[in-house]
Symmetry: C2
Amino acid sequence: MTVYNFSAGPAILPKEVLQKAQEEMLNYHGSELSVMEMSHRSSLYDGIIKEAESRLRQLMDIPDNYHVLFLQGGASLQFSMIPLNLARGKKALYVNTGAWAKKAIQAAQAIEDVEVEVIASSADQNFNYVPKITPDMVDQDAAYLHITTNETIGGIAFQEIPDAGKVPIVADMSSNILSNDYKVTDFGIIYAGAQKNIGPSGLTVVIIRDDLLNDEPIFAPMLDFRIQAENDSMYNTPATYAIYISKLVFEWLENLGGVSAVLAANKEKAQLLYDAIDASSVFSSPIAKEDRSINNIPFVTGNDEWDKEFNKFAQDNGMLNLKGHRSVGGMRASLYNAFPKEGVEALITLMHQFEEEKAGK
Amino acid sequence: MTVYNFSAGPAILPKEVLQKAQEEMLNYHGSELSVMEMSHRSSLYDGIIKEAESRLRQLMDIPDNYHVLFLQGGASLQFSMIPLNLARGKKALYVNTGAWAKKAIQAAQAIEDVEVEVIASSADQNFNYVPKITPDMVDQDAAYLHITTNETIGGIAFQEIPDAGKVPIVADMSSNILSNDYKVTDFGIIYAGAQKNIGPSGLTVVIIRDDLLNDEPIFAPMLDFRIQAENDSMYNTPATYAIYISKLVFEWLENLGGVSAVLAANKEKAQLLYDAIDASSVFSSPIAKEDRSINNIPFVTGNDEWDKEFNKFAQDNGMLNLKGHRSVGGMRASLYNAFPKEGVEALITLMHQFEEEKAGK
């Protein structure tokens, strides 16, 4: 049975990347070393991390006045690091678009001397749309405006980045980095846990504009953006193997034609599934059409028993991790860069079978 | 040419572990998934992290009243997390045994409301010995006494753990965890970056006694020991693949006969090298005999040119990463659990050749 992995993260990786990693596992480029065994200060490893950075810069068109940091702790640690570095004694603005935005907001609120203001929220409609942000809503004295470009659980995405005037936009891009054509220059900081479109978990990519590096040192060096930037992500030992796998993913993406090519493919996959959902007599999407994510697609039957039944039916037919997040229920198809179109087609076939079975019931 | 990897970390891993990882890279136990692609919430992955924990508990004889946490950020993040969780508004005691102890001390000092007291130091002799700690030196109102059981750069190790009365001992055990027979019950907290005796970098193991979990929440959930413990290291996505590799290393160590067997082998390897150094007319160890590390063995010729020459000679003969840390100079042989005895013998042969060449000069 062919298996399709719909996991929201850690998620499917390109087969070619895994094959390359397999080949090189015990002997990277004739060194007789695994990348896992390399000193992070060795010239051999230096080549790997530098190449990872330059490929990411190329793929995302990152200008020279942005640092690229390879950190640890996931987006969850960034939820605290960002206000600690940028907003102590200041106001920080947030848009509440769902589960992950809320986590970012709560983490900022837990810091005593940060004044958190939620300037817009879609809580009134159970986070099924992206609230409009207009320039007049953005206090120009704020340290930043935080958005979650794609809500992994809720399934909404910003199609356009708001105009925040001179206030830098800080974005949690964990679930749609490298899967959209956002412009880096529209952001002050972009951060992303690697485990969706980049590589293995345990790596966090932070892209930060020069002028946003903290002036005052943070009380914990590992949390200090300036220290991390000045040490080229080597203040301590970084997640060396995860960075290597990411380098392979960046190569794969380049060979595929870069972000514009993968975006076109992702749109096609998502459209197939949304069309099937919208045409269905059984399944439906809770998300406003214009705000739908192409990466995380939740859908429901509206009947808990049927959801359960369909999840089991799908699992029995090789669809792994399709079950919706426990906070939402139903189903969720996470269609990241490496997810094949055939997997979407196979899912749609199962949906049709299920519909026929339920027809008239 | 046979290559021997003397790296201080990330360091050599057992060949059997790398082979197993290679085999399973695209298909873990028939799942058709790489471990890197598994949802950390899947039952398949749950089996992996649970097994990693239970094997580590067995190997180190960790009692039930200790939590085992798989975190991120390395020992360097622990340098801040530990005082933040345990010592705010209190006194924290430190022993200064060299480069890594100093980093831990500086990180604690950077936190405003922690009173740091260095109760002993070997700075007077360039950190070439372990200062004696007697119970009367330990303020019984302190939050903890911090030691670095093995100084990776300096090459000293605690042969016995001090008696600190009722004050819990907190230990950075990064470079000799699973390579000694310390008793877990002698410590309140043990922490270690994985990249020496455990697995890939990007994973930090923390072993913490129940009663030391913080009562008050920390302002950053990712830094909060209680939150991490209550979520079984899954407050957010952990470094799943690094945990998997560690599980394989734990299995390998069990098959080898556990910690006592590897300790005996490590002692033998270290003794071979120390004997060669002590008998040499060219090389010498700067470290007091009774405090020498069996894991990190620095040695020098006392002549910068000769050091350089020997490092080049060694490298040309397949000895990788033998060069001493930039702050110490000379050479450093890191002999972790996976380092083969043949590599030590090969190094000694080169040392003898070098000595003969230099004889009489």
